[in-house]
Symmetry: C2
Subunit: 243 residues, 2 copies
Amino acid sequence: MPHYLNVMATKATSAKGKRNSAQAAKTTAPAKAKVSPKPKRPLDSNTESIIKSAARTVFHQKGFAATRTRDIAAAANMNLALLNYYFKSKENLFQIIMVETLSGFFGTMLVVFNDTSTTLEKKITLAVEGYIDLIITEPEVPLFMMSEIRTSAKNLLTRLKGPESILQTVFVSQYQEAVKQGKITEPNPLHFLLNLLGMIMFPFIASPMVKTIAKLSDKQFEKLMLERKQRIPVWVKAMLKAK
Amino acid sequence: MPHYLNVMATKATSAKGKRNSAQAAKTTAPAKAKVSPKPKRPLDSNTESIIKSAARTVFHQKGFAATRTRDIAAAANMNLALLNYYFKSKENLFQIIMVETLSGFFGTMLVVFNDTSTTLEKKITLAVEGYIDLIITEPEVPLFMMSEIRTSAKNLLTRLKGPESILQTVFVSQYQEAVKQGKITEPNPLHFLLNLLGMIMFPFIASPMVKTIAKLSDKQFEKLMLERKQRIPVWVKAMLKAK
DNA sequence: AAATATTTTAATCAGATGATTAAATTATTT
DNA sequence: AAATAATTTAATCATCTGATTAAAATATTT
């Protein structure tokens, strides 16, 4: 096992510890002694980061259930056993990817939505541009998040605490203030967020369908998404004053 | 095997035919003689429809890769072997569910969008109402379709011919006419459809996330969706005249 | 009711899959 | 450089999983 994972209390099913030097010998802790590892984790061995990167790609594309550890090993061009050596299990590796992916996603949102120096309208523009640019780099992420969260849901999301805070952002305060001032018709900011995120993310989520139906190449699809980057703010702002 | 599936040319791997009566004996056709069955298929044996119904539920909830044939058998309260007896294979059963699901989805859309007697605005209202009501009965369907289509995509969608025709509907003609008359700003109907469908479907696709973040019960979530049934048409119509 | 066909069941198979192991290789420490 | 630790490899394991089979049970035909 990687040296930085050996903080006694190894997983009971693993017999590796035995070959380590003496101080590991006191490992009498049984089964599921889940100890948070990484005492002084070295800035990711190359092997480890290559595997993680491959895992990210494969998981994003196929989802947890359809992914084979052998797929990841092949994508990383690594021996299968190295996945378990560095990441214990498929589940654990997936968890890591999932948390990183969700963090990136909610992080981007919260940075924009909690900026006290920008107006509501500016935030809309920045969120749309930031998100579309972000998603274009990894277009499978929205669908990945939505489908994989079915299994995790509560567990994962509440433990991440980024998500929880979305409805207590500066953005929401500004939204409610604008409602009070009669500048916005729809009083519930959740509806607005669903509309905004739907317009941003749905086309990516539906992209296999969209590409087939509209007969678009990847290039053409991306162009369409870049058009949306300009137009969604306009559409959304029109919605705010609807009826 | 079910009697209506025995149109000679059985799957080579199946030895069942041997116990059938004489006329089946000429089955010399080898391996993958994929013959379209159902000569006079009896209106679905009870067992068969129970299995299909269970399969629909389980596939919709977990997706193809995460579904175990044993899950379906258990949900249907049937012996595992009956799945293969009636449906040959997991893949085949899935295919059937997928086609039926997609047909229902696109069918609903095309009925509304090809009605020559309704205006563009009326179509928007009808589409929103029809879809939200439909989806509420099976809220997992949008996410199911989007995630499962990744694997099938081309294959399935082109062979279904509902999807292809969406961009040649009466609705699109009416849209283009309205653009010509300056009543609509955005010239590309695809953008409009993405916005409309995104606003309708995205909340369901993101529902595990939405429920967790906004702390909504299933009941509260459904109420929110029914609100949207009223408001999406308003929002969307405002968008049409944006800028 | 006997004969035949269909449906259902329990047991089993073969291949896939996540994980582990012991040995080989490489790197680090002494 | 010898000793020790960490990494990598090939082989193997145990379980899961989709599918099949032969026999039993039930229904249909003659």
